[in-house]
Symmetry: C2
Subunit: 301 residues, 2 copies
């Protein structure tokens, strides 16, 4: 069987782990790394034997691109790949209406390009979204609480890093229980930046505006970083006429590795879908897995 050729776009934490996940999969090979900035590409090329390019066209045939870049860049970057017939996977993590807008845009781009976009494919949104649906299939009436942390939120950290006056940042998510969270944000200021102005911008950011948020100045963010994270989902609900059905799902994870692995598994699943855009809720779970269909079913059913 021919291996899927997968390009990694970006080279942050998630991208590095995505490369490791592609290399660990026997049905895939890494086509190369795409970095928009020629200086960064040249610097990275000196560290790796894989081609590091500024445009995916330089990598020859590519089946899928793992877009390990900031969520806010996805709506502009993904259509560029889909138009070339290259499937995309992202871990877009802005919940709500933004997901619907992205899905509509990439669905049109995928159908026009004969390609597949899998969106919101991380662990949350992503596999947690799938679990939430499964919980409702078992007990349709009731409430699901999703409790995150303690751990670094990559989306929130990137959001803070993009704020003017911030040199480096870390946003920690801490569970308060019953789906409520607080956030602890550690910021290393750029020279001359005003802490109070930065703090105010953070508190008003859509990523933070709904949560109890504490902002702390710190000298060296790097010393605080641990990439572990976790989640606890709890549902108490009703199956038919039977109440108090209790279901929990919990994980403790190396966060970027889990996100990256789900993206890589989703690249495999994307290949099996018809052109268009899919959330993980719209993909048969078997499609994520490596191996022959019947032998997977024998093992997993």
């Amino acid at each position: 069987m021919e291996k899927m050729r997968v390009a990694i776009v970006g080279f942050g934490n998630v991208a590095r782990e995505a490369l490791a996940a592609v290399e660990a999969a026997s049905d895939m090979e890494a086509a190369g790394i795409v970095l928009r900035d020629p200086k960064k590409a040249a610097a990275l090329q000196s560290e790796t034997k894989l081609p590091v390019v500024c445009d995916v066209n330089e990598l020859g045939e590519v089946d899928a691109a793992i877009l390990a870049i900031a969520s806010r860049a996805i709506p502009e970057v993904a259509p560029h790949y889909l138009a070339k017939g290259i499937n995309t996977v992202d871990s877009f993590d802005i919940h709500g209406e933004a997901v619907m807008d992205l899905r509509k845009k990439l669905d049109a781009a995928g159908k026009a390009g004969g390609s597949v976009a899998v969106i919101c494919a991380g662990w949350d949104p992503g596999t947690d979204s799938v679990v939430r649906a499964i919980l409702e299939g078992i007990a349709p009436k009731g409430i699901t609480y999703t409790n995150f942390g303690p751990g670094m939120s990559m989306g929130h950290t990137v959001a803070v890093k993009n704020i003017p006056g911030v040199r480096d940042a870390l946003s920690l998510t801490l569970p308060k229980g019953t789906g409520l969270h607080k956030r602890h944000v550690y910021v290393e200021l750029a020279p001359g930046a005003d802490f109070e102005a930065v703090r105010k911008t953070i508190l008003e950011d859509p990523y933070f505006v709904h949560d109890e948020t504490y902002v702390y100045p710190t000298e060296d963010v790097k010393q605080l970083i641990d990439l572990g994270h976790g989640v606890l989902m709890e549902r108490k609900g009703v199956s038919g006429r039977s109440h108090n059905q209790r279901i929990t799902f919990s994980m403790t994870l190396m966060n970027p590795a889990a996100t990256a692995q789900v993206m890589v598994s989703s690249a495999r699943a994307g290949k099996k879908q018809r052109p268009g855009c899919y959330t993980m809720l719209e993909i048969p779970p078997l499609d994520y897995l490596e191996g022959e269909r019947e032998s997977l079913l024998r093992r997993l059913v």
Copy 2:
């Protein structure tokens, strides 16, 4: 929107809960109950306003049949419905090759009849199977342990009840940890039956032959029955190059209600698939849920 008309086949514990789940769903209505035995059908008819019939043809238009009957009867009964263009759902719970045989047979029957069979649609096999796949999508290398109980196993109990000399029975599953189980079987003997002969038959039955099994005689099985059950699935695995990713999924449930609810949710999903046979691993998770697609995505992604 027109409501799905759902027939319930059988009227044991799962069937009664399936009827409650259909009645709780605003997109479905119960078409009636099918019991093969005319005497049992007549007796039940005096208790309910729903039509109780011996042949599904008497119920008018039916979209789907919930086959709440013994697993061993499914391969013969399901094709009868599929040939009429009626979708089927079963909770066939004999793992391994028997699933593959059933899938092949019902796939042909469904394609010939323009209908859809969803098989192995309970909580295990069923939603647990889906969770096992999701766990491998997050951490492809590693081991998943599925620990059941304590609780009554319906499949094992039915298997014991079918053994000659058994008047009534209860089979309890108890977890030993790391995916190992013991079984406690309580049997109420028929007059003149030999306990040792019954015990030997149980221990040699394919349902029990792989497990540590204890068989106890008892005077009145009914006094021991509690329909609660549970499961704990644990995976420790590797995402890309990151080890010790820990994931757990656990439930404590009214067992027949959960099985029945998953069957009813699967009837909804079956309607959205092309003709053929599907395990739950082969169905997009969103398809199980009631409601408009985009509003479900807004809430769950």
